[in-house]
């Protein structure tokens, strides 16, 4: 167990001793967890309880993580295993796909459906029924997954395009052809647009009704993570030296002028997460800076974390009040937004 250290008002930090790959909050938002590069997961309460460690992927690497709606965690590893870890820390294997890394994972907004990529196939678990459905094979290894906000559609990115699966009619996907390697799909909050990153420093925004595709090319680096503002008017992505908001759907009509603010001279954005309750986004950079960006006034302020190592993952709690941050040197931080705002 590892105790928390208070860094400032509303900010706690833990030392986890391994690369935090992904962060997730429990269904009731009372706990956060990190998937660690040494096969463990670390779980800590939002009140600042000691970190507890469990080892669902002993000897391997834990690469993806989500909360189970009834409590506990689901994690995927490079051992090909999908494991359920109960709130008490008991690990049970749910499914195994030997030889594949279960690295790409997405959960529906209510947490009831979980999708995991295994090579060219996607496994979708209905967690209340305990059933599993296979989708695929896709054109290449699935590089990104996202559920539509209402949960009815699953987007899977891969080489050559995006496959949109209707989960109620899983016969054939709608295929959107986008040449090259696509990644990081993200639906707009109203579900009308789908944005994807692209290995070759580009972003595609698809108007799902008209299938019109807007391409944003020539970005400074690979946009590996995408996020939408709460009102759906702006799209953000990692790889930039500032917080950059692209206007959607305006981009389809005219030459889009992005709003850029909080310029970082020295570092690129490495992690990004938008809050789903308030118009805030968290942006983490390669020098360890984590910014809280306000997307109404386009201002940002840094959290008082120790700089140094890149931010590897960010995640907001479902209630929108807590932010989990992971740093590559094995630190984890928690921001309690309510506490921070009330204490100034």
């Amino acid at each position: 167990m590892t105790a928390a250290r208070e860094l400032g008002s509303g900010i706690l930090e833990w030392s986890l001793g391994a690369f935090p790959e992904r962060a997730a909050f429990s269904a009731d938002s009372a706990e956060m967890a990190f998937a660690l590069g040494d096969g463990r997961i670390a779980v800590m309460g939002v009140e600042g309880q000691d970190a507890r460690f469990f080892a669902p992927h002993e000897g391997g690497s834990c690469m993806s993580l989500a909360a189970h709606p009834k409590g506990g965690w689901l994690s995927g590893g490079d051992d090909g295993r999908l494991v359920y870890t109960s709130p008490e820390g008991e690990c049970t294997m749910v499914h195994e796909v030997p030889g594949h890394w279960l690295e790409v994972m997405a959960a529906s907004q209510d947490g009831g459906t979980l999708a995991v990529a295994a090579g060219r196939t996607v496994l979708v678990f209905d967690l209340s029924l305990g059933s599993m459905t296979e989708y695929g094979p896709h054109q290449g290894n699935v590089s990104g997954l996202a559920f539509s906000p209402a949960g009815g559609i699953l987007a899977a990115t891969h080489v050559g395009g995006v496959s949109l699966w209707d989960l109620d009619e899983p016969s054939e996907p709608i295929f959107l052809e986008l040449r090259g390697l696509n990644l990081a799909p993200a639906f707009s909050p109203d579900g009308n647009f789908l944005a994807c990153g692209h290995q070759e420093n580009a972003i595609h925004v698809v108007d799902l009704a008209s299938r019109k595709v807007f391409q944003l090319g020539g970005l400074p680096a690979k946009p590996g993570q995408l996020a939408w503002s709460l009102d759906g008017r702006y799209l953000m992505h990692t790889g930039t030296r500032a917080v950059v908001c692209w206007p959607v759907p305006d981009c389809f009509n005219q030459h889009p002028e992005p709003v850029a603010f909080a310029v970082q001279e020295e570092a690129r954005m490495t992690a990004l997460a938008a809050n789903t309750r308030i118009p805030f986004a968290a942006a983490g950079f390669g020098d360890g800076t984590v910014l809280l960006a306000e997307l109404k006034r386009f201002t940002a302020f840094p959290l008082g974390l120790d700089p140094g190592f890149p931010v590897s993952c960010l995640c907001w709690s479902g209630a929108g009040l807590h932010l989990a941050c992971g740093m590559e040197d094995g630190r984890a931080a928690l921001l309690d937004l309510g506490k921070m705002l009330s204490e100034g």
């Binding site: 790959e21 690497s61 030889g99 290449g140 080489v159 050559g160 040449r179 580009a202 680096a221 590996g224």
Partner: protein
């Protein structure tokens, strides 16, 4: 974090790459190496093409070769970096690849991969006895030597002095500056393979000036495409041979790769063909299993292919009854 050294290991089928890999992994060196062998090609015709050998092949029957390779490599290298403990190096085995360039490119074009890894060496294993013949048949064998900064000239015990000199001369012709390390059953000291620090980007840019040209891999303009042709009908071999010959003669410069499996009337075995540009190899493959539905498929990967024209031409080669 210090960048992890990466060794790219190439070598033509049967040259002894697996032997070398086993030596590296089983020697008492106290180092931790991760090996990426390709797990691709689970479906599609690649499996059938390689059924006779123990080699695996990169998935190439869809979309852009460089994207598939790069995407998968980035994902795997990224995953390895986060692993528990310290890794002393990563070995990437790249057999079956027409061109080691996409693998090398990955370590320069992807920002994250570039920051976290250091390309250490490109090592090619060459079969001293069969090299000459392989050069005549395969562009791969040639490219592997051109891109290498060390060649392990293996199976030296199977050739005489003259044959050895001949192989050396061939290698020198392709790559004058390469270090040639003679070996029998890949018995080379580990330090000749790992931790060489001999990768030379400038030399490669001399050979292939477009190696790191992002523009050369602009996909929105659709530079690489693939056309798949499938039918459950049999193929009239004479007609097919005539057509594909004429097609490759005329269009070969645009065809990076073509391959296929044909069902010929009354033939117990499947006919397998593969080609690179204007060169084509054909031969009988595995027999059809009893009750197995027989079909003919062909895949063309290239630039500016006329999909409709290919469909029509292929249909014209089918046996109608």
């Amino acid at each position: 974090m210090l960048p992890i050294p990466v060794t790219v290991l190439t070598g033509y089928l049967g040259a002894g790459k697996t032997t070398l890999l086993n030596r590296i992994l089983t020697q008492e060196h106290g180092k931790r190496y991760a090996v990426i062998v390709n797990e691709f090609g689970e479906v599609g015709i690649d499996n059938e093409l390689v059924a006779h050998s123990d080699e695996e092949i990169f998935e190439m029957n869809n979309g852009c070769i460089c994207c598939t390779v790069r995407g998968d490599l980035i994902r795997m290298v990224g995953g390895l970096i986060r692993r528990k403990g310290h890794l002393d190096g990563v070995i990437i085995e790249t057999t079956g690849l027409a061109d080691p360039a996409p693998v090398i490119q990955t370590f320069f074009l992807d920002q994250e991969t570039k920051e976290r890894t250091a390309l250490d060496a490109v090592v090619a294993v060459v079969d001293a006895r069969h090299f000459q013949g392989q050069l005549e048949r395969s562009a791969e064998a040639r490219e592997q030597v051109i891109f290498a900064d060390a060649v392990i000239l293996n199976k030296c015990d199977l050739v005489d002095e003259a044959g050895l000199e001949e192989a050396r001369a061939r290698i020198r012709e392709l790559n004058p500056s390469v270090e040639i390390i003679p070996a029998t059953r890949c018995d080379v000291p580990l330090e000749k393979v790992m931790g060489r620090r001999s990768f030379d980007l400038l030399r490669l840019l001399d050979i292939e000036p477009e190696l790191l040209d992002e523009g050369a891999h602009e996909h929105s303009h659709g530079h690489v495409q693939s056309v798949s042709l499938v039918s459950d009908k049999a193929v009239d071999f004479e007609r097919f041979k005539k057509w594909i010959g004429e097609f490759l003669n005329a269009q070969g410069q645009n065809v990076y790769r073509c391959k296929g499996i044909l069902h010929l009337p009354g033939e117990r075995q499947r006919l397998v063909f593969q080609g690179v540009h204007m060169l084509m190899e054909m031969g009988f493959g595995m027999p059809w299993k009893e009750g197995e539905p027989r079909s003919s498929k062909a895949v063309f990967i290239g630039r500016g292919l006329d999909s409709l024209a290919l469909q029509i031409a292929f249909r014209d080669c089918l046996v109608t009854s």
